[in-house]
Symmetry: C2
């Protein structure tokens, strides 16, 4: 019999009927003898409703008070789920973030978990109770209510699993696992049985929003066995593993893409120390996050510098850059918000050469021009014209054989070596 921490997101508990379905599932597992801890989010739509309410009394609600308001969302869900469990004969107890003392720093709206007091939870489990915990929320050292930011319930579940040394942390979502790429773009996309935490991080940061990035980092730090499953269909989901466990990782696990970026280029800036810092410093002070940064070797004492930002920040970033260009006497500033980033991700590429070559050839064969390239240890990203998104992702999915079932000496590896 295992100790299992489950997390159900907003759509999974979005109505009394859905809550009843979750209660059925949890009560069955408790009846089968498992120790059950359940972390829940606010019912879908509730957080938006509360934010709207807050804005009706204050255009920029103070962060401390917004957290007090938002925390009511999960508090409602824990009460309702506990009631539904009790009705099914599974004795259940609900706890807010404060009640199980999920201690966080005091950064309202984006707090980080520092510590969890698991005594109360362990006591309840010993008594055979199901423990239902409000995700997304905690308290700081002074007892103020904090929230972890959107998607923070995943982090609560992982942190709770780490504190309890749970056998598995199961994140229930509206998809049945992590896919080789978005099935809406590539119908042959395949659910992965396993993926490493590092790959998951790269996939997540690239827009595959199955899990919150911080929860995956947290899981990696404490080696929490983490599984993503569907709350609406039966199935094994995708298990997140840690690299040392993996004897035969495929070279490429998946293809991620991001349609939300725009690129900005500044040409003919002096090729000397401090220039990149100057440019990004001004952008950063504008509260704009920069994603990819590419600078090529210069000529004639000048160089070109290109970076990508979120598309929503594009006009503001372009404005800032025009001022910077004037100050630096740069030759020109240009930009393009009709781009996409496509990335191949896989821990196997660390030990296998030729992966980037396969990628570039596959894109070239389709006549797709690459505008920017950026690489990390387990990822190669390219920026291309947005009209090539579907074509490019499908070509890469084929080139790395991702649609086929994995096996020893898998096709993915063969493709990567070609």
């Amino acid at each position: 019999m295992a100790l299992i921490v489950q997390k159900y997101g907003g759509t999974s508990v979005g109505s009394p009927e859905r809550i009843a379905a979750v209660a059925d599932k949890v009560a069955r597992m408790r009846a089968a003898g498992h120790d059950m801890v359940v972390v829940v989010s606010a019912m879908s739509g509730e957080t938006d409703r509360l934010i709207k309410l807050a804005k009706s009394v204050h255009p920029e609600p103070p962060a401390r008070e917004l957290d007090v308001l938002l925390a009511t969302g999960e508090q409602s869900t824990i009460a309702l789920l506990s009631m539904a469990l009790n009705r099914r004969g599974a004795e259940a107890r609900s706890y807010t973030g404060h009640q199980v003392h999920i201690l966080t720093d005091n950064v309202h709206g984006k707090a980080r978990i520092l510590d969890i007091d698991d005594k109360r939870v362990r006591d309840d489990l010993k008594k055979g109770r199901v423990v239902v915990i409000a995700g997304f929320q905690g308290v700081d050292e002074e007892g103020n209510i904090t929230t972890l930011g959107r998607g923070g319930s995943d982090t609560t579940a992982v942190a709770m699993a780490a504190a309890l040394k749970a056998d598995e942390c199961q994140i229930y979502t509206d998809v049945d696992g992590v896919y080789t790429t978005d099935p809406r773009v590539v119908p042959q996309a395949r659910r992965l049985d396993r993926i490493t935490d590092e790959e998951m991080l790269e996939m997540a940061s690239l827009g595959s929003k199955v899990l919150q990035i911080r929860s995956v980092e947290f899981a990696g730090k404490y080696r929490v066995p983490l599984r993503v499953l569907s709350s609406f269909e039966e199935g094994p989901g995708t298990l997140i593993t840690y690299e040392e466990d993996e004897m035969e990782a495929p070279v490429i696990s998946g293809i991620a893409f991001n349609r939300d970026e725009a690129k900005i280029t500044i040409r003919g800036v002096p090729d000397k120390p401090g220039i990149a810092a100057r440019i990004l410093g001004d952008v950063g002070r504008g509260n704009i996050n920069v994603d990819m940064i590419v600078q090529n070797v210069g000529a004639d004492g000048t160089t070109d510098f290109t970076f990508t930002v979120h598309r929503a920040d594009y006009p503001k970033a372009l404005e800032i850059l025009k001022q910077v260009a004037q100050d630096l006497k740069a030759r020109e500033v240009s930009g393009d918000d009709k781009i996409v980033k496509i990335s191949i991700v896989g821990v196997g590429m660390r030990s296998h050469a030729g992966v980037a070559g396969t990628m570039f050839k596959a894109l070239a064969d389709e006549g797709i021009n690459i505008q920017m390239i950026s690489t990390s240890e387990i990822k190669v990203s390219v920026v291309v014209d947005e009209k090539y998104l579907e074509l490019g992702v499908r070509a890469l999915h084929d080139a790395f054989g991702l649609g086929e079932a994995p096996a020893q000496g898998s096709p993915a590896k063969g493709a990567a070596r070609s």
Copy 2:
């Protein structure tokens, strides 16, 4: 500059616009230099919405979990009011029942306040902050969320005022004070400037639902200066005082009535010890509260026994009494749910004779037959046919001169002496 605790009920904070109006008022008083503590209820309709939600997952929601759910109602309001105050430049901090450690017993849904830790509130007041506290809720010794029952926010405000030794506790409602009687029945009804806590208790228990009874008891125990005001109109409201402060209390302060009762009579029961206990015991075991009880001296070794119950309990009580009558070989059981109770209330009647006589004469002059009479130290109640409610209340209001402004040697006293 005074330390003032204010309480705003559900209708007073029922919408963002209403919350803004409350924030205006509180911010003005803070700007005038007062130390302000504000206790709020859930927005009107919210508690009913939550109860409905609970019943959709459990027909009889477990009390512990229902309290977790209901407590979100006030938590939302404190956050919203604090935001609105901050927007008006009045630095404000919200606190849930747990955060200011309103310690209660563990009777979920009807908890009683045992202790309040006022340190945090005092610290905030010293820093010039407005403190906004969730009414209606607390925590038990184990940290479980409890609620005080409907209207419990009044009790929270009074308890907080007692703990802080506030100069005044102001309860804002949708009426502008306590009236000599219901103005819908007697247009000449007059707002009382002052009323004693005992009178207020009698008025409240008789259906003048301005303040929760427990909050008045609490206020009396700690001699908290308590004022009832309207949140929608300006005005001095009604101040609840304590008898020793009152040199010249009017004989009769008000006329209360209750339309929600029914009477049951059992005739010809043996006139011997233990009979009343037997009858009321069976009724009590049926979870039925009994209000008035009248037993007259018997004759021929038997006696008659009459009592009133809530009208909703009438059929069940009648059923129980029929069984009791059989067991006791009583002559007859009869009942009537077309009755009302009318009461005159006033601490002055302790020291003034003839009050009951004035009452009975006023009713007799209108041809109203009195079915039952019951008296306490500061109250005389009669049961009459419900068709006489308006006529009876108006006759009494006139007889005791309640429509006229009070003065030294007030008309009320004159009337009482006549």
